[in-house]
C-alpha cells in the first residue's frame, strides 16, 4: 500500500465513510465532518500509522490533503 492509499484508508476510518475518496486538492470543506475535533483525530491517526511526528509549524501550514501527503512523504523511510 503506497502512502496515498494508506492515507485514504485513514480518512475513511476517521470520517466513518468507506466510500470516501480523497485527492491532493481535497480540503476540510470537501469532507463531511472534517472540523477541528475530527482534525485532531486525523492527525493523531496519521502520526500513529506512519510512525511520524509533525512539527507545530507543519501542522499550521497544511491547506489540503496534498500538503499533508507531502509532509508524510518527506518523513517516512522508503518502503515503510
Amino acid at each position: 500500500m503506497n502512502p496515498f492509499e494508506k492515507l485514504q484508508a485513514i480518512f475513511q476510518e476517521v470520517f466513518d465513510d468507506p466510500e470516501l475518496e480523497i485527492s491532493p486538492e481535497t480540503t476540510a470543506n470537501d469532507v463531511d465532518g472534517w472540523d477541528s475535533l475530527s482534525h485532531v483525530n486525523l492527525i493523531l491517526a496519521v502520526e500513529t500509522r506512519f510512525h511520524i511526528t509533525f512539527s507545530q509549524k507543519e501542522l499550521m501550514t497544511f491547506q489540503n490533503v496534498g500538503d499533508l501527503l507531502a509532509a508524510i512523504e518527506t518523513k517516512i523511510q522508503p518502503g515503510s
Binding site: L37, V40, L44, T61
Partner: protein, 476 residues
C-alpha cells in the same frame, strides 16, 4: 476625534483631497501621516510611541525571519512576538498585574504597601498588537512575504479608519491593496456613503439611545431589581452590537473612499444557532485571529489528550480573548463563559458520530436554537458590561425578582416617552436595514437615494445628537 464628529468629517475631507492630489507612488506617505495626525488628535500620551515601537519591532523582525535557517526564524519570531507583547503588557496591563499581585502578597505580608502603576495607553494598542503578531506569524509560516518598504508596512498596520476598533486586517488582505493603484469610482463612493450612513444610524439612533437606559442601570445595579435589570441586559446586547458593527461599517465606508476594502466583521450574529456559530458571525476578524493563532496551535500541542485537549485549548483561548479586551476580571470571566460554552458544544458533539450528528442537527428547530444561543450570549454580555463580576452575578440573580420600579414607568425610566418611541422606530429600521444594506451594496443604484435620505432623516429625527458618546470598543 470620534467618527461621528464634525472634526472627523473635516479631517477626512482634507486627507481625501491630499490623497487624490498626490501622485500614486507617494500616497502611502499621505496615509501614514493621516494616521499619525489622527492618533495625535486622540490626545492619548505615549500612544504614538507604543505604536511606533510595535511597528519597528515587527517590521525588522519579519525582515530578519525571511530567508534564514529554520532555527533562526523560530528564534526571531519568538523574540519579536515577546517584544510586541511586552509593549502591550507595559502600557496596558501593568497596573492590573501590579494591583492583583500586590493584593495577593498583602494577604501574606499585611505590612507591605499596596502598589500601583499608571495606565500608559488605554486604547488602540490591543488591536495593533493582534495585527502585528498575525503579520509576523504569517511571514514565519511562509504564508506571506515580508514587506520590504517600512512606509507601506506602517500604512498597513496603522491605517486610521480601522486601527481603534478593527477590523483586524491580515497582511495578505491589506498590503496588496495598498500597493495597487487606488481608484475612486462612483461605485466605491456610493458604497462608502451607504456604509458610513448605516454605521452612523446604528450608533446615533440605536446604540446611543439604548445607552440612555443601560448606563444608569449598570452603573448602580444594586439600586435595581427585576424588570429594569432584565431589560437593561437585553438592551446592552443590542447596544454593543449596534455600536460595534456601526463603527465597523463607518471604518469600511471610509476605507472604500481610499480605494480599500476592509474585511466584514459581522454577519447577523444574533441569528446564530449555536455558540460556535455565533463566533463565526460576531467580530469575525477577531474570532478568526484567535482560532488561527491561539486555538489551533494550542489544540495541536494538546492533541494527544484528544477531546480534553480541545477543551483545554478552548478555555485558554477564550480566557486570553477576555483579557485582550482589557485588564479586568469582568472580561476574563466573560471569556471563561465562552470557553465553557464552546467546550460544552465540543463535548456534546463528541458523544455522537460527526456525520450522523450533522444530519440530526438539521432537523432541530432552528428558532429554538437561535433563542437559546442568544440568551447564552446575553448572559455573557452582562459580565462584559458589569463594573465587577459581583455586579454581574447580582444582575443574573435579581433579574427575575420583584421589580423595583417604585411607581416609575419602565418607558420613562431614564427615557422620555418620545425617546422610547424613537428607540422603537430605530430598532424597526435597523431590523429592516440589516437585510437591505448588504443587497444594496451589491446591486447598483436601485432605491439608493431613498435609502440615503431615509437614513439622514432618521439620524437627525431619531438620533442622540451632540452627546459625543464614544464607541464602546474604542477602549479595547
Amino acid at each position: 476625534m470620534f467618527f461621528h464628529s464634525l472634526s472627523f468629517a473635516l479631517f477626512l475631507g482634507v486627507v481625501l483631497s491630499v490623497f487624490y492630489l498626490t501622485p500614486r507612488k507617494g500616497r502611502w506617505l499621505v496615509l501614514c501621516m493621516a494616521s499619525v495626525v489622527f492618533y495625535s488628535f486622540l490626545g492619548v500620551p505615549h500612544l504614538l510611541l507604543a505604536l511606533g515601537s510595535l511597528s519597528v519591532f515587527s517590521f525588522l523582525g519579519a525582515r530578519w525571519i525571511e530567508n534564514r535557517p529554520e532555527k533562526t526564524r523560530k528564534r526571531v519570531f519568538t523574540l519579536s512576538v515577546v517584544l510586541d507583547l511586552s509593549v502591550l503588557l507595559l502600557v496596558r496591563y501593568l497596573p492590573f498585574l501590579t494591583r492583583n499581585l500586590s493584593a495577593l502578597l498583602h494577604l501574606f505580608f499585611p505590612s507591605l504597601p499596596v502598589g500601583s502603576t499608571p495606565v500608559l495607553v488605554s486604547i488602540g494598542v490591543s488591536f495593533y498588537v493582534f495585527q502585528v503578531i498575525s503579520y509576523l506569524a504569517d511571514v514565519y509560516l511562509e504564508i506571506l512575504p515580508a514587506e520590504k518598504h517600512f512606509g507601506y508596512f506602517f500604512a498597513y498596520v496603522s491605517f486610521f479608519p480601522k486601527l481603534l476598533q478593527g477590523p483586524i486586517e491580515r497582511g495578505k488582505a491589506l498590503l496588496p491593496q495598498l500597493h495597487a493603484p487606488h481608484s475612486m469610482s462612483p461605485e466605491r463612493i456610493r458604497q462608502g456613503f451607504i456604509l458610513v450612513l448605516w454605521g452612523l444610524f446604528k450608533k446615533l439612533v440605536v446604540a446611543d439611545r439604548l445607552a440612555q437606559f443601560v448606563d444608569p442601570v449598570f452603573s448602580n445595579v444594586e439600586g435595581f431589581s427585576g424588570l429594569p435589570l432584565l431589560v437593561a441586559s437585553y438592551y446592552y446586547a443590542l447596544q454593543i452590537y449596534a455600536d460595534f458593527s456601526g463603527y465597523t461599517d463607518i471604518a469600511r465606508g471610509v476605507a472604500k473612499w481610499f480605494g480599500i476594502d476592509l474585511t466584514p466583521n459581522f454577519h447577523h450574529p444574533y441569528l446564530a444557532v449555536s455558540i460556535p456559530d455565533f463566533w463565526r458571525r460576531w467580530h469575525m476578524t477577531f474570532s478568526r485571529w484567535i482560532m488561527d493563532y491561539l486555538f489551533k496551535p494550542l489544540q495541536m500541542r494538546f492533541r494527544t489528550w484528544k477531546t480534553w485537549g480541545i477543551v483545554l485549548a478552548l478555555v485558554i483561548t477564550f480566557l486570553i480573548s477576555g483579557l485582550w479586551h482589557g485588564p479586568a476580571w469582568t472580561f476574563i470571566f466573560w471569556g471563561f463563559m465562552h470557553g465553557v460554552y464552546m467546550s460544552v458544544a465540543v463535548l456534546f458533539r463528541s458523544f455522537k458520530k460527526p456525520s450522523k450528528g450533522k444530519a440530526k442537527r438539521k432537523d432541530r428547530p432552528q428558532l429554538l436554537s437561535i433563542f437559546f444561543t442568544f440568551h447564552l450570549v446575553v448572559a455573557s454580555w452582562i459580565f462584559f458590561r458589569a463594573q465587577s463580576v459581583g455586579d454581574g452575578f447580582y444582575v443574573l440573580g435579581h433579574m427575575f425578582a420583584p421589580s423595583s420600579l417604585r411607581g416609575i414607568s419602565l418607558f420613562s425610566f431614564g427615557m422620555r416617552i418620545t425617546d422610547f418611541f424613537s428607540l422603537v422606530a430605530g430598532l424597526l429600521l435597523w431590523g429592516v436595514g440589516s437585510f437591505w444594506v448588504p443587497k444594496m451594496l451589491e446591486q447598483g443604484k436601485k432605491r439608493y437615494w431613498v435609502f440615503q435620505y431615509t437614513l439622514v432623516v432618521a439620524i437627525f429625527l431619531l438620533g442622540v445628537i451632540g452627546r459625543g458618546n464614544e464607541f464602546l470598543y474604542f477602549r479595547f
